[in-house]
Structures are given as structure tokens and as C-alpha cells.
């Protein structure tokens, strides 16, 4: 197994006209760990995700991904679809993006597109219905069923995704991302809009994805209870730059972080903390 971190950002900068949404950001995400990326609204977290997953071309900087076997990818050079196909990075979206008119099962089948495309002989063998295609299709269905069961939506496999409740949609989106067989899973606020029970279940799911499925996770989250409970490391951003990095415990007690969240300066925050203690 490669000893390099799974993901390394080096001086990533993303500029939109006059706005610098991400400014010379560097951090690493370790293999088989959960790395949380937090920060106040508008800090640039989603922009970092969009750069990693190829939706934005960064203005400058390097995003390096290293697979277990040592294969390396410079993501800023890859075509958007190759980030999932070759670099094996899957993501979810802050505002859920399922295929609402397709069933849960179909959503998970679409996620296995590239593998199935190959198995169907670029459609031609599939059109003829050769046995090897049929067995590949069946194993794709089995994989989908596995993940539906894993997120507790098996009984709703044949329902349209657009009919799902909000929390169910979030979990279905995670299942869909996992069906691509990712090495790195990027989740953009998976706990947003979930109630306490649901976010507890989400924490368990993410921990199990990390340990049982050998997947590293990069997590944007505002819900601090989730972040503190499951992340191995936390990176804090504000105004496009990294202001702190460390274990959840270190971050919680960092006056810079508190200042950023409270919107005050450091001394004041320190004073607030002392008063509380």
C-alpha cells in the first residue's frame, strides 16, 4: 500500500473574476481516514470540492491523488468524467442531485455505468443479450441491492428517487456514490437537514464505509457533533485560506476557529472561552 496521503492539495487557488474563493490552499487527506473540511458559510469549501471533482478548473495549484497501489493522478489535468472513472473519486452534492424520475435501483445502476458499458461490449453484446452481459448486469444489481440495504432503503428500491424524503435522498446519494467503487468519497454536507436520529445513523454509516470498505472520506459538514464524532482530522477554512488543521479536539479549542465562526477577532474569542471555562 502506498504511504503517500490519498489526496494532497498544493497551493490550490480558484479565482472567479475578482473573487478569490480559494487562496493557495494546501492540505492532505490521509488514507482510510475521515478528513473534515469545515468553515463558515462562503469559506470556499464547496469550491474546493468542485476543483477536486473536476467541475472547476483551478486557477493554479496541484491536486494529487494516490491510489493504494501507488498510481498517481493530477486531478486538475483530468477530464471531469475521468475523475470518477480513472481516479475513482465519488462525490455528493450540497443540494442533492439524484435522478428524480428514475427509481432508486436505476440511480444505482447509472452509477455503475462504466463497468456495465464495458460488460455490454459497448452496447453491441448487450443488444444481443449474451450470457456474459447478463451475469454482469446481475452482479451490478446485486451491488446496488447491497448498498440499498446498507443505507436502509431496500424496500424502496422500485420507487422514484424524487419521491423520497429528504433524509432518504441524502442516503441514496451516498449509496449511489459508493456504487462507483470509489477510493475517495467526497461528501458535501451530508447531515444538512437531517434530524438527530438520522445524523446519528449517518455517522455510523460513514464510519463503516471508512473501515469496512477501505474508502477514504473527505467531508464538508456544518453539524459539529457529526464532525467531532467521526473525523480523524479537521481542516478549517475561512475566506479561502486554511486557518487551522488538527484533530477534532485541537480544533474545538482553537481560538482562531472560534473567532472565525463567531465572526469576532481572536482576543475576544479567547476571552469568551475563558469566561465559559
Amino acid at each position: 500500500m502506498s504511504s503517500a496521503p490519498i489526496l494532497a492539495l498544493e497551493n490550490l487557488t480558484m479565482r472567479f473574476g475578482g473573487i478569490i474563493a480559494v487562496n493557495a490552499l494546501s492540505f492532505t487527506a490521509q488514507r482510510k481516514q475521515i478528513t473534515a473540511l469545515i468553515g463558515p458559510n462562503g469559506a470556499g469549501k464547496t469550491t474546493v470540492f468542485n476543483c477536486i471533482t473536476g467541475f472547476y478548473k483551478p486557477t493554479s495549484g496541484v491536486i494529487r491523488l494516490t491510489h493504494d497501489d501507488g498510481a498517481q493522478f493530477e486531478m486538475q489535468k483530468l477530464k471531469d468524467y475521468n475523475i470518477s472513472k480513472q481516479a475513482k473519486v465519488a462525490r455528493t452534492f450540497q443540494n442533492i442531485r439524484l435522478f428524480p424520475g428514475m427509481t432508486a435501483l436505476e440511480n444505482l445502476m447509472v452509477a455503475q455505468h462504466n463497468a456495465l458499458m464495458k460488460a455490454s461490449g459497448l452496447t453491441f453484446l448487450g443488444l444481443l443479450g449474451v450470457p456474459s452481459w447478463r451475469s454482469a448486469e446481475q452482479s451490478a444489481i446485486d451491488n446496488a441491492v447491497f448498498w440499498l440495504k446498507r443505507v436502509g432503503l431496500l424496500d424502496r428500491a422500485d420507487d422514484a428517487a424524487g419521491n423520497f424524503a429528504y433524509g432518504d435522498q441524502r442516503r441514496l446519494e451516498i449509496a449511489r456514490a459508493m456504487c462507483t467503487g470509489p477510493a475517495l468519497l467526497c461528501l458535501d454536507e451530508p447531515a444538512a437537514g437531517l434530524n438527530a436520529r438520522e445524523s446519528g445513523a449517518l455517522s455510523e454509516l460513514l464510519l463503516s464505509i471508512r473501515s469496512d470498505h477501505d474508502t477514504s472520506i473527505l467531508l464538508i459538514e456544518h453539524d459539529m457533533s457529526v464532525v467531532m464524532e467521526i473525523s480523524d482530522r479537521v481542516v478549517v477554512m475561512d475566506y479561502g485560506v486554511k486557518i487551522a488543521e488538527g484533530t477534532p479536539r485541537e480544533i474545538r479549542d482553537d481560538p482562531k476557529v472560534i473567532a472565525a465562526y463567531l465572526g469576532t477577532d481572536e482576543e475576544e474569542a479567547a476571552a469568551v472561552m475563558e469566561a465559559e471555562a
Binding site: 445502476m109 452509477a111 455505468h113 462504466n114 422514484a160
Partner: protein
Amino acid sequence: MSASPRASSPASSNGSEPVGAAFILKKAVLSALVALGLFSLMVGVRTEAGQSGQLEYWTRFGELASLVGAVFIGSIVVELLRMWLGPRGGLGSFVPSSVQNGMSVAGRYLAPALLIFTFLVPVIFYNQRYILDLGILVLTYVMLGWGLNVVVGLAGLLDLGYVAFYAVGAYSYGLLSTTFGLSFWICLPLAGILAAFWGVLLGFPVLRLRGDYLAIVTLAFGEIIRLVLINWQDVTGGPNGISGIPRPSLFGIPLTPGEGGLASMLGIPFSPTHRIVFLFYLILALALLTNWVTIRLRRLPIGRAWEALREDEVACRALGINITTTKLTAFATGAMFGGFAGAFFATRQGFISPESFTFQESALVLAIVVLGGMGSQLGVALAALAMIGGFELFRSLEVYRMLVFGLAMVLIMIWRPRGIVGHRAPTVFLEKSKSISSDLVKEGHG
């Protein structure tokens, strides 16, 4: 590839519209004003060349007033109907689910019944040439509709130039058969391949465009192909077209009178109806092939990717789907079916000219797909029957035919905004295939 993200979801068009008397009146007045602007020159002033070529004109304010009035009242009626029939899902949302289930059961038997009836048409109407010809025409449009359905209904790409591929298919067969003497059965796949090739060629630069832009460029492409056909006289014969295109043979046996013809080989008297019946089954077979392939493609990863693309392009990219090639395959597949239909058209007519491939054809086929319910095979077939058959039905109305026809279409679209068959059937299921209501299914916007 574009580096900028797509704007997040388009605002829903059916939000909470204010519906009150004032709103309806305002809308009606607006429509009437537009009508006034449009018709004041078209109808209000009549121009003609006089005896010695000078311009003569006179005004027709009476007609103009009645037209604008009709638009005003029509607009109010449409709004009121909308209000009564429900703002969102049309009548569909008022129909209880038991009735809808009943309809879907009927739908299950409707398709086989329709198919059996279609097979029997040449037997039942053997002596009615008119009906047979009409049947061939309807089936041609069913096939074109099914072909375009791949592009518009499944992949959600608005293509207003579909007739271009129909033309490519027709001219491919016409030219290959008259210049090289190739038979229909060799030219048929070639016509499909050439049309698909043109589909890819057109698609490549165009598919980065979305929505309206794509529609306009494809529309232009349809016109360009027609203009090329008119102006490239040496090859295409220009406005005169190509004549003397060979009629199809039954695997080499011609359907002609006299020695060597099918009739004399079978020892039955020759009748020109044989050829019509043969053509009928030929287009039926081609249409069914289109249908079979489309249904299978939907259940393959490529077809699922088309539908996913229609649902959410951004999510597709995140799942590793190459959207450019996926769109191209949809374009090429639709074009190929259009090419087959074109080759059939050429062999049936024996004569083709650019006049047969105007924008009106594209619009008609698109109307069939939209009216049928985008994505639904049965819906498209029914819509083709209704449009082409209905058009014939209204023949007795003479000048009012278009008017009645247009009104009927407007009413159908108010009644069922998502087409005759609006719901979507899943392509794979674990326990039970539940049809998906039309208001969840996206129409695509690229």
C-alpha cells in the same frame, strides 16, 4: 470542456402562479396585443399585384378585429380551462389512482391489440388502396417518431432538424441505387450508417450547446442540408430531385407483372396491390425493429445514461459518464433510424426532391413525440396515428382543417401537458415495476 458550473436547477415554471380575474384579463389583453401586432400586416392589409404590375392594397379591419377578438376570448377560455382542470398535472392529477391504474392495465393490452390490428390491416382493407397508403404513411411517421424519441424523449436533446437525417437516408438510397445499381437491401443499412455518420458530424460541434441554442442550431442544420440538396445540382439533381429510384424487391424477386415477377412465380395473377402490401409490411418491420432496439437500448447502460442525462447532467459527470459521447450516441442512433425511414421513403415514392424534406416535417415529427409523451413508445405510436390519421379525418373540413387540427392539439396539451402517455416505466426493478409519475420525470434542457 467548459470550466464553469451549470447554474443550479432551473426555476420551476409551474410555481405558484397568481390566478385571478385580473391575471387572466391581463394575459388575454397581452395575447390580443401580440395578435394585433402580428396580424395587422398579415391580415389587416391585403396587397396584390394589379393589372399592370403596380401594388394594390386595401384594408381589412373587420377580419383583423375578429381575429384579435378570437385570440382574446380564446386566451380567457384556455386560462379558465387551466384553472378548472388544475394548475399542475392537468386532468391527470384529478383522476383517482384506481382509474389511472385501470388506464395502465388498458395500456398493457392496448399495445398488443394495436399490433395485431396493424398486422391485419392489409388483410382487412386489401381492396382499399387509400387505407393501405394511409397506413404506410402513419407507420412511416411512427418510425420517425420512435427514432426522434431516442434523441428528444430519452436523452432530452431538443432536435429541430431531424428531417436532415431522413433526407440523408432518402438521398443515400436514391443515389446509391441509381448510380451504382445497388439493391434496396444493401442500401438500407448504408443509408442508416450514413445518416448516423452525419448525426455524429452535426453533433460534435453542437452538443456543447444547451436548450434553445441546440434547438436553433439543429434547425439550421436541417435547412442547410435541404439547401445543399437544392444547390448541389450535379449530384443531387437540384430541385428536380432524383427519379426512377428502384422499387424494393422481395430478396431479389421483383414485384412486377410478367416473367420473373413474384406473382408469376407464385402462379397467381398480378395485382399492383401486392406491392402496396409488401411496402406496408416492410415499413411495419422497420418500425418494429426501431421499437425493439429502442426498448432494449433503454435497458442497457447506454440507454440508462441517456435518461440520466435528461434528468441531471451534472450528476452524470460526477458518476464518470462522458456526456459528449453519450449525447453523440443518442444523436447517431436517432439519425440512423431516420436514415432507414428515409431509404424506405425513397423506395416507396420512386422519386425524391428537396421539397419533401422541409422544416415542416421536423416539426410534425417533433409534435408527434411531444404529443405522445416524451419517452413513451406507445404514446408516440398513438400520437402518430392521431396526427396523421386525424389530419386525414378532417379533410372534409377543407379550409378549416388546420384550425380544427390546431385547436385539437391545444386541447390535448391542456388536458395532458406531458403527452398522451406521460408516465415513465422503469428499466429495471427488483419486485414490482411501478410507473413513475410524469411530474417527477425531467424533460431535459440540452
